[in-house]
């Protein structure tokens, strides 16, 4: 067993884990943060995307021990009280959510982009979600939602 220390969404956790526990399973099974989804389990669909130390990663391809003493942001950590993160709000207002299974991963990939590149080009937006598959929407509204979020964040800043 490994005594894992990890910070998830600003909260510190100490969990005894098996050595081969994936970060995805730590979040879902141990911490009951089920917002992060398993779509393929092999890094091809991005449904399991979380932000680890500021970077979007596939949590199905990360062992929990690799995140020892590190910071993880999941979809549950985005809202501030009642207020949604601008990315979440934009997806909601723009109608980019259908079945919703890809959404947590999609939103976090977009957030990871906007956190380092607040005014991305359309090309850069598409690149940022190129590791996230969506079976429902056809991606159009997803890309325009990220653009909308970016515009709103810029306006807020002014």
């Amino acid at each position: 067993m490994f005594e894992l220390k990890i910070n998830v969404n600003g909260k510190a956790y100490e969990v005894d884990i098996e050595p081969d526990l994936r970060l995805l399973d730590l979040l879902r099974d141990k911490l009951r943060l089920t917002g992060t989804k398993e779509g393929c389990g092999e890094g091809e669909c991005g449904a399991c995307t979380v932000i680890l130390e500021g970077r979007a990663v596939n949590s199905c391809l990360v062992l929990a021990i690799q995140a020892h003493e590190k910071n993880v942001l999941t979809i549950e950590g985005l809202e501030k009280g009642d207020a949604l993160d601008p990315v979440q709000q934009a997806f909601l207002d723009n109608g980019a959510v259908q079945c919703g299974y890809c959404i947590p991963g999609m939103v976090l990939s977009a957030k990871a982009l906007l956190d380092v590149n607040p005014v991305p080009t359309d090309e850069e937006i598409k690149e940022s979600v190129s590791g996230n598959l969506c079976r429902c929407t056809g991606y159009d509204k997803i890309v325009s939602s990220v653009k909308l979020a970016s515009d709103r964040i810029s306006k807020e800043g002014k």
Partner: protein, 287 residues
């Protein structure tokens, strides 16, 4: 193989000590993007995991005076975000950019990409074209191995049971040179390379090519240098018209090497398109 123990490591010395104890019983995790797929398919080899992802000695990119040294833990994203790499090592930069997806590039490492010995590894052809060497360390010391001698067979490399691949290094290219890369995948992202090529070339004042290194991926069991293509290209003048012939030469090499394999009819044609693009990119860099 069931995993029974994992060590979280921060210092190379501890890592070397443990690997010397465990030998084949322990497997490294760097980025994890290959290992976790193996674990899922129950094809991992070690019952012990040594997590090297936070070992400081394995990190860092050094663009030295004469030599470039990349720590084994250098991620694909770190290369992509490096202005210097984008400018000075275009082929390596493109190869790293073509890997998987942003998520995979954020965790996947050059060390892992090389050490896994896959013939389809994207970083291998440009690293071979750069004449790279890998540093392999164990408790007793360290050795430098030419990358083109490092690959022994499909999935097999020269790394010994008590060794860690710590760095990849190559002479810093200077003067008028080009480094290009082209890969054929089944889609634009999350695509394993079906065939790839990388070219390093220099030319003199008159436009004559010299110091040519060509490397391929997914043509055969290992990423490899293409000596026949290097011989062909050396001495050619960039202002002359031989480019079409070059494609036929390479196609014939592929036809012979993969004779009898079901992928040969496809690859002997595909290499023409891939090499044409790699060649055009390289020649453009020389202008």
């Amino acid at each position: 193989m069931e995993i029974t123990k994992a060590h979280k490591l921060y210092e190379l010395e501890t890592c070397l000590k443990l690997k010397a104890e465990y030998l084949e019983k322990a497997e490294f995790i760097a980025g994890g993007t290959d290992l976790l797929v193996h674990i899922r398919e129950k094809e991992n080899h070690g019952e012990v995991i040594l997590d090297v992802s936070d070992i400081k000695e394995l990190k860092g990119m050094d663009y030295g005076k004469d030599r470039v040294t990349l720590g084994a833990m250098t991620t694909f994203s770190e290369i992509v975000e490096s202005e210097w790499a984008k400018e000075a090592l275009q082929g390596l930069w493109e190869a790293c950019k073509s890997v998987g997806s942003p998520q995979i590039r954020n965790t996947g490492t050059l060390g892992g990409n090389v050490a896994n010995g896959s013939p389809a590894a994207d970083s291998a052809p440009p690293l071979l074209a750069l004449g790279s060497q890998v540093t392999l360390k164990n408790e007793k010391g360290s050795r430098l191995v030419d990358l083109d001698a490092f690959y022994l067979g499909k999935g097999k490399t020269d790394i010994k049971a008590d060794e860690v691949l710590t760095q990849i290094s190559f002479n810093k290219p200077t003067g008028k040179y080009a480094l290009s890369f082209e890969k054929l995948g089944l889609r634009n992202a999350l695509a394993i390379s079906r065939i790839s090529a990388s070219i390093y070339m220099e030319c003199d004042q008159a436009g004559v090519l010299k110091n040519v290194r060509v490397a391929s991926g997914s043509i055969g069991l290992v990423p490899q240098r293409e000596i026949e293509m290097e011989t062909y290209l050396t001495g050619k003048n960039i202002n002359d018209s031989w480019q079409d012939e070059a494609l036929t030469v390479f196609s014939d090499i592929v036809k012979e090497r993969l004779a009898g394999r079901s992928s040969m009819p496809f690859k002997k044609e595909a290499i023409k398109g891939v090499f044409e693009k790699a060649l055009t990119k390289a020649l453009d860099q020389l202008v």
